[in-house]
Symmetry: C2
Subunit: 526 residues, 2 copies
């Protein structure tokens, strides 16, 4: 029996998670957090996008997961599933069409392949980790319309990302019609004629297959795809920003059915939701649809223009906030943690660049500073770049190449954070010491921002009954250097709130801005 199954598995593993069913039991090997796909042939007449209902229930022991299927054109139907546990699974389909109903099968889920750490989830209230337990230190960037640029530029974007420090990318499903972005895309999401004669009841499978391909390529680069489902940068040109409610809802269900099995997907209901002509009731409905339709409960957020959505809604897994000022100075970003009690991701803090618009002309130094401000507050920041270009090839929206000076420094920051506490950087004494984060007694990171001190007194927030011995390093966050401080420091309680070196000690500093001190209870790792 085992031998037979193993043989069958070996043969079927060539099909990489694809099954070709005709109602009989089949099996396929798929890795944990990979994509198992049920493919069925069914009716191609009428309008399958609206006429045909299809789902499958996937079962392992007491676990039952229901995933919606979708029509992929040419009489082909698919149901996708991301198995979250290894071992044997079974499934059965349900449909309002007999030829798609009651199809069942089993399949075996094996170990995750190299680089597959599963989907990212919230950990320790304010932070993230992959499903396999590896911390996810979010260092995101933004290429809103990169999948609408044609293969040459899109491949260049992927090559750039491969060498960049970013592990998350904000990207829109719909194309973009906005300053610097007035070109027609190669594909449209609906059947019809551009710019605005669409059959909103018929999706264009080719458009979505292309989107999936790009999401899969990001996954293979270890990059989370923060998929933006709606955005206002259409202005009625194609009208995807102002579809009727039924079309909005059908579109959401279709995207979720197609993409939810990709482990690297995050859902962003919108970019600048409040700049669209939709009501809070609409957004509440969209939130419900995506939350309920997604069998895998990917991270789910909504991004604001000037008015924040009520991000306390428990279905929103983290707060995606546009507010550059919150990470421009100390003591601000931390306030969002208290009110939302979930991870805070400042997904737009203005862009490094040279645009005339004030949202697009941060210096590289300021961009890096904002990332550090976010980190020291126990929050996360997203990058974007808006350097002018003769052909408007601006990373922020179209992708291509990075021209700025911040990415190298963000790689340095990411390394620092990944060498930090697995549970994430936490403010050590919130509302009292805005410059120190880490893990009490074990790890301290003190960021000095734009100050240019020539020394730093060894003096940390906290309480401790017993002396604390720490080794220190001086970090230059701009010049990307780490210099160990010789010896170690013994800190003792002084007053009610501080741990101070005894004897008093200071660490010399070069008088540059953007310095940080890292102190650890053990010897720093090489």
């Amino acid at each position: 029996m085992h031998t037979v199954r193993r043989l069958l598995t070996a043969v079927l593993s060539l099909l990489v998670g694809q099954t070709f069913l005709s109602g009989r039991l089949q099996a396929a090997e798929v890795e944990q957090w990979g994509i198992f796909e049920v493919t069925l042939k069914g009716p191609a007449d009428g309008n399958p996008f609206v006429d045909v209902e299809l789902s499958a229930t996937f079962t392992q022991g007491k676990t039952q997961v229901r995933a919606a299927g979708f029509y992929d054109g040419d009489g082909t139907y698919r149901v996708r599933f991301m198995p979250e546990a290894q071992g044997e699974w079974a499934y059965t389909t349900a449909s309002n069409r007999a030829e798609l109903n009651g199809k069942s099968g089993t399949f075996t889920v094996g170990k995750p392949g190299p680089g597959n750490r599963g989907p990212v989830r919230v950990r320790n209230t304010y932070h993230f980790a992959y499903a396999d337990g590896t911390p996810h230190v979010s260092v995101g960037t933004t290429c809103y319309a990169w999948t609408h640029q044609g293969d040459a530029l899109e491949e260049q974007t992927l090559a750039t990302l491969k060498a960049a420090p970013f592990n998350k990318l904000r990207m829109c499903v719909f194309p973009k019609w906005y300053a610097f972005n007035r070109t027609e895309p190669p594909r449209y999401p609906f059947a019809g004629t551009p710019p605005n004669k669409w059959d909103l009841e018929r999706f264009n499978p080719d458009f979505f297959r292309h989107l999936e391909k790009r999401v899969g390529q990001l996954r293979d680069l270890g990059i989370e795809a923060d998929v933006i489902l709606f955005h206002p940068y259409d202005d009625g040109h194609w009208g995807f920003d102002r579809m009727p409610p039924a079309a909005d809802d059908r579109y959401l269900r279709y995207v979720v059915a197609r993409l939810a099995a990709y482990r690297n997907v995050w859902w962003s209901l919108a970019n600048e939701f409040d700049f669209m002509e939709k009501t809070d009731a609409d957004w509440g409905r969209f939130l419900k649809i995506v939350h309920e339709a997604d069998p895998h409960k990917h991270l789910l957020s909504i991004h604001n223009g000037t008015r924040l959505y009520n991000q306390t809604d428990p279905r929103l897994t983290h707060a995606s906030v546009q507010n550059g000022s919150a990470v421009a100075d100390f003591g601000r970003a931390v306030l969002y943690r208290d009110v939302y009690r979930k991870p805070i991701v400042f997904d737009e803090v203005k862009y490094e660049g040279d645009f005339e618009q004030r949202w697009g002309n941060l210096s590289a130094e300021e961009m890096v500073h904002r990332f550090w401000q976010g980190a020291i507050a126990g929050t996360y920041v997203g990058h974007g770049e808006t350097y002018k270009h003769k052909d408007d090839l601006v990373w922020w929206s179209r992708g291509g190449v990075l021209r700025g000076k911040s990415p190298d420094r963000l790689a340095f920051l990411r390394k620092v954070l990944e060498a930090g506490p697995a549970d994430g950087l936490e403010p050590i004494d919130k509302w009292q010491d805005e410059r120190t984060a880490g893990k009490r007694g074990e790890f301290y990171l003190v960021y000095l921002g734009k100050d240019k001190p020539t020394e730093w007194a060894v003096d940390l927030p906290g309480k401790s009954d017993k002396p604390l011995t720490l080794k220190a390093e001086v970090l230059d966050t701009w010049n990307m250097t780490v210099k160990p401080v010789p010896g170690s420091f013994t800190l003792k309680q002084k007053g009610g709130y501080r741990l101070v070196a005894d004897p008093p000690a200071t660490i010399p500093l070069p008088g540059n801005p953007y310095m940080a001190i890292r102190l650890r209870a053990e010897a720093p790792k090489k």
Copy 2:
């Protein structure tokens, strides 16, 4: 008919809103937003506090308001009502006891008396106004346990308040057992024996009559009573912080029945709610009880220790926040406005004083600075004072006299705010210019904080198609001076985001900290 009624009214007005009923129609004159009280005699046997249900419905035209009654001891029952409209009203009682059931009457509500502007409500999303439309610029203070100190000290507190700038006072219903506060109060809320043998099913009417007297005296001084219903500063000594749920709920209904007709009442569910041994489900229940029991829908909030309650709950009329750091520097307080979209009152920002605890040793300058930080962010701040005293007579908790230097400066601030826009100070360009609030085109207040500039360039955030002519004054917020700047300035658009004096102009400053510039479209009022 009119003459008869007028005569009757004149006679009955001597009774000042009191009716003495035996089931027949009666009438009484009461002012709008005053207290109309139905007094009934009923059973004194058994336990009227739990056995007897009583309420009354007050009717004017289509308006129907139901208010719960309460047992006031000695066979006396009362139902209190704050009429919010002038003219004729009728009422009918309902009770599970025949002698209290179906009693009805009418009464006439007249104009509000001097100083009566009605209850405070939210206005313009982030601000407050009295029911008569007068803006309420909240300048609060804190005397947690002032009603538990005995008449001499309590009268002194009232005398102090009469001369002080505060128009709101945070005060606890229950007595306080905490550092500097380890005395037994003259009265207890329940029948029984101190310190902790209570009959939680029997209230002590004398305790509550005393509380009401003090709330009424605050009202007569024009001070809102921010009544704190629970607090953790008991630590089990009396046990009012750890009553069983049924006792908590009965207590809340009793307090609301007694106090809701006082127009100056605000409900604060708790001080430092998260320091009590109650769950969020408990607080949700308390919120529901108070919200539903209060026929007049007074302002309702909950104050935190280190963890904020979910203040987006629409029944919470404003966010009562303890976080001194939020008003210690620019660009912080404003963040709470966006997430809560309601008035923000920083009800605890640490205290002016000389305690060793870091929450109790702000300088007067810092306290005043925090009020200005709050104001410039479009929020409100509360005061408190903790100067050591040989007999622990500390204003923060016990009242008495004020010893600090901030109150005079807060009087100055209040005057500035009351001379500002009726809709409240709003950030002119939030997230971009943290120092400027006011009303676009009409009124600008620029606070310079701890900087000590010797001049200020006339340069404001905003956009305007046409030139803007403004007159300016220099305010020294610490020395309480207002100095008009000669002439006026014409500001024109420069770039996309600023209005700049044309020709360029600067206003000389003395090089002191805590300066502000006030600019108005019209000539400053004398």
